[in-house]
Amino acid sequence: MSLTQRIEALDRRWIFLLMLFSMSFPLIVHIRLPVRTSPEARGFYESIEALHAGDVVYLASDYDPGGKAELEPMLLAVLDHLFRKDVKIVGATLWPAGSPLLERAYKTVAPKYNKTYGVDYVHLGFKEGKENVMVQLGKSIREVFPVDYYGTKLDSLPLMHSGFNGNPIDKLGDTKLLVNISIGYPGTKEWVQQVRGRFQMKMISGCAAVSAPEYFPYVQSGQLSGLLGGLAGAAEYEQLIGRPGWGVTGMAAQSLSHVTIVLLILVGNFVYFWNRRKGAARS
């Protein structure tokens, strides 16, 4: 058996081992690479940067633990940016397993800026109903979420009374920006289709890398004012807000694993065609 034939028949556990090394090595030795920011990430950053202290945003945190590695760095950076600017947050999820993740993100970032629950941020929890809930939120948040994640009535939370001119916040239109962090359905596409145009909301999205190409048309049409795609998007955003976190740290691991996959494609094809050519020449 020639070398190329042995490479072609390589046990896939060696490939798994190679991937493990390429992903873990940069994390162990703390390699940090400079991150280039894209116009989509700058749009995301500038949309939040344009908010003023006291403004309220609606944060739709639509992901579950499967998307945690990609989206949690993004969510933490968004919360950091919003709290730093003293922007108030009304957050909820349409994913059944999403609430504890949003809760944990709040608990991680809010103490850093001495933010108080109910005054500076609210967690509405989860509601089943997907697109129906989105449209309902555009009409009345209280109808959909009479109580918050802790079972407290929304009317007893000071933040829900701090809309424009002291009016209560009762619908999505009472907030200045819709921030969606999403891994799939229901997520960015549904928010754009059901809410963005119908309720005239300004919207930005952070999504999984695999979903980002699908949302590029929404950025170009202006329906999304900014877009973060996957861990790379999180890294770009962390760079922009000057708070390097897991996104930036993870980019070295992602860089090396992407290069490894590219090399595997090239080597796999080279040995395949080389072996076929040699086989054809022999026969």
Binding site: G129, K130, Q136
Partner: protein, 225 residues
């Protein structure tokens, strides 16, 4: 006959009502009611789904079908989490009891410091993230063993994939600073054009299907029974 005609009638009525709500402000309260009904029906559907999952997996265990052992784990997880997150808070509220604890953890509720939260964060989160993370290993294996450039189309796909994969990470710029620009071009021109065509096509298809439902022509949503 009524098994088909009544659902079609309901679908047509609700469909036209929702269209009307969009154009006539006086119809909005009614539309809101219908949407609230939809939210309640969807939530009720979850109960039906859970009941179905329990039934199917109980049958699987009782008949010792292939991989029946996994069904036991699924049922135990479903029952424990459902009990802690749903049943126990209702019982607790009904009996107006004090704090129900298990060690330092609260037995009632789903928030921070409860048994439910601990099980979620210590078992569900790592397992779920691991399942997603395993994808990277299988993608690498598939890239090596199955991604063969046998045609022009495959060659174009491979070239685009390699450029985008390298261009989307910082190492790409280190290799050649033109790669990120090439990546942006691929994402913003050919990719965007294709994606937009798919979106417009899907939207037109959606409109056509919606119109067929509104006119009572489309009946596939009723199933084949």
């Amino acid at each position: 006959m009524l098994r088909r005609e009544i659902p079609i009638f309901l679908a047509v009525m609700v469909g036209w009502f929702m269209v009307g709500e969009f154009f006539f402000p006086w119809a909005e309260p009614g539309g809101t009611e219908v949407q609230q009904m939809a939210v309640i029906i969807t939530a009720a559907g979850v109960i039906l789904g859970v009941a179905n999952v329990i039934r199917i997996n109980l049958l699987k265990v009782s008949r010792r079908q292939k991989d029946w052992q996994y069904s036991i784990f699924l049922l135990v997880g479903l029952i424990v989490m459902g009990f802690l997150g749903t049943v126990l808070p209702i019982v607790h509220a009904a009996v107006k009891g004090g704090a129900w604890t298990l060690g330092s953890l609260n037995l009632v509720g789903i928030t921070d410091g409860t048994v439910f939260d601990r099980l979620y964060n210590r078992i569900y989160v790592p397992l779920s993230a691991t399942m997603y993370g395993l994808l990277a290993f299988y993608i690498a294996s598939a890239a090596f063993r199955a991604f063969r450039v046998r045609s022009t189309e495959a060659a174009l796909l491979a070239a685009a994939a390699i450029i985008v994969m390298i261009g989307r990470v910082p190492l790409g710029e280190k290799i050649w600073d033109g790669i990120p620009l090439l990546t942006d071009w691929i994402m913003n021109v050919p990719q965007l054009a294709a994606k937009r065509a798919i979106l417009i096509g899907a939207a037109l298809g959606g409109i056509a299907t919606g119109l067929k439902i509104l006119l009572g022509i489309e009946r596939n949503f009723l199933g084949s029974d």
